[in-house]
Assembly symmetry: C2
Homo-oligomer: 336 residues x 2
Amino acid sequence: MAVYTEVSDDALVRFVAGYDIGTVLSSKGIAEGVENSNYLLHTDRGNYILTLYEKRVDPGDLPFFLGLMEHLASRGITCPLPVKNRAGEALGELAGRPAAIISFLDGMWVRRPTAAHCAEVGEALARFHLAGADFPIRRPNALTLPSWRPLFERSRARADEVAPGLSADILAELDHLEAAWPSDLPAGVIHADLFPDNVFFIGQDLSGLIDFYFACNDFLAFDIATCLNSWCFEPDLAFNITKGRAILSAYERVRPLTDRERTSLPLLCRGSALRFLLTRLYDWLNVPPGALVKPKDPIEYLRKLRFHRTIADASGYGLALDAPPSAGVVPAGAAS
Amino acid sequence: MAVYTEVSDDALVRFVAGYDIGTVLSSKGIAEGVENSNYLLHTDRGNYILTLYEKRVDPGDLPFFLGLMEHLASRGITCPLPVKNRAGEALGELAGRPAAIISFLDGMWVRRPTAAHCAEVGEALARFHLAGADFPIRRPNALTLPSWRPLFERSRARADEVAPGLSADILAELDHLEAAWPSDLPAGVIHADLFPDNVFFIGQDLSGLIDFYFACNDFLAFDIATCLNSWCFEPDLAFNITKGRAILSAYERVRPLTDRERTSLPLLCRGSALRFLLTRLYDWLNVPPGALVKPKDPIEYLRKLRFHRTIADASGYGLALDAPPSAGVVPAGAAS
């Protein structure tokens, strides 16, 4: 939840005049999204989203994010599309911040996903991975293995305030992951944050993916791990293997996993859980004064991490290990 | 800024099915409004506001608020209009709270009002007062003179933490207002919170009034005092008499003030400033844990109060005291 930047009405009207989207009739700050300020604009042509990029977003990354949305949309992935201004630019400036107007995507995110929703997500993720294969801009993942230890160092001194023994637990996990992390998996553009609040549905049908502001180049299966973490645990943090199977089998119908991806899955799930544990831990310990955002509980991801340590192979997530890969194997185009 | 209540997608779809407003395509929490949770609904028929009434609102007051909106709209005041459900009710229940769907009102609130905006507000306020005259439900003002001392008692012990000497200052003001407060002014339905964020404009034209959740019966001129406080001070808290004159003369073109209202104006302005000082002081000292709302600065209203102490008569606000009331005097219909 966030509206960090107040936009004056006259500045907004001047900004929108640079676009061919009609006259602004109303503008409402949206209480969603943590990284940026978002406004819903109603014009005499329809609804649009105005995004102001706040300081957590590197302006140098914006051509990647905005270009990726255009690239994906042109390949049939339903996602918000940046609207170009009269100068042909997707990126402008408003209230001293980089700003863009994005098409409004209908749909609602599902608070209690079912296995049917998980299957839709698995399929959409695989299609996303295929569609991103020929996207020309590259952006390394700033939140994968090499970043985790330095990130933890910024929370380490106070980690045990959050849970006794947390610091030692994370250090042991870092040792393990640094020793075992794979280096040879199919890679490409990943969403990197495909939580339920970034997937819209209308009724039972997936209507689009949003929030590409963590997207980057990394192992494709790391994205699957993040979906297993964010879609398949019940509120009591029990893993629902039916949902895991739904994601994995729907994904594989579009892009079958390689053997190395299958065997790496428990490790990738541990890494993904640690990544969210670490960022949530840092945010938990560093709530800025006057913050409008309630930090998310890091312990949820500690418990998920501990679950993944008990998983010996990908069958623990519902993957049918003895089924042969389907005949129509689609190679990941951007394997590194 | 507030979304206090999360509404699950399936509960929302069930709730909306009770209304003839089409199918919900999206729902976004709006980062505006302090008292209630507001969602912008986009359906295949258009945009609507869904309001969930939180615990600061007494459910017993909702027929007054919703009925007032209907009453005003039927008399030509542009304001949001409650949508009745298929059972003919404006009020339902969602996520355990009283809830209503309200028509979406286009327009934006003006961050830096000009004298022209102030004139529009003065005229709209007078029309509001006339339109409310025959509204049959009554609701006493819970935030006028008798409530102020008990309200202050809840902050008194810690008031000097906010500003040295604040407690003594407020106590002296309470003594003065309790001795001098008028009892015989024209009364009726007042908005009671007509700050700039509750008045929408499209371009230079006022497009409607919103947020009737403080509306009540009280002196009509107390509403004018609140507008002078909230529209006519510059960011450095200097009073802009041009803006004051704009509000007052536009108001008087619709409803001329009585002599007693004119002479009472400085006192009413002090009372209105104290009312907002006291509620802001209480909120400042009582930010709930995990609050999403940043409390507003009480000291702004202390400085406004001190300004009003220097005003000898209503000419200090720009009122033309020697001009005779215009010929077409419209009596305040609901004078108590």
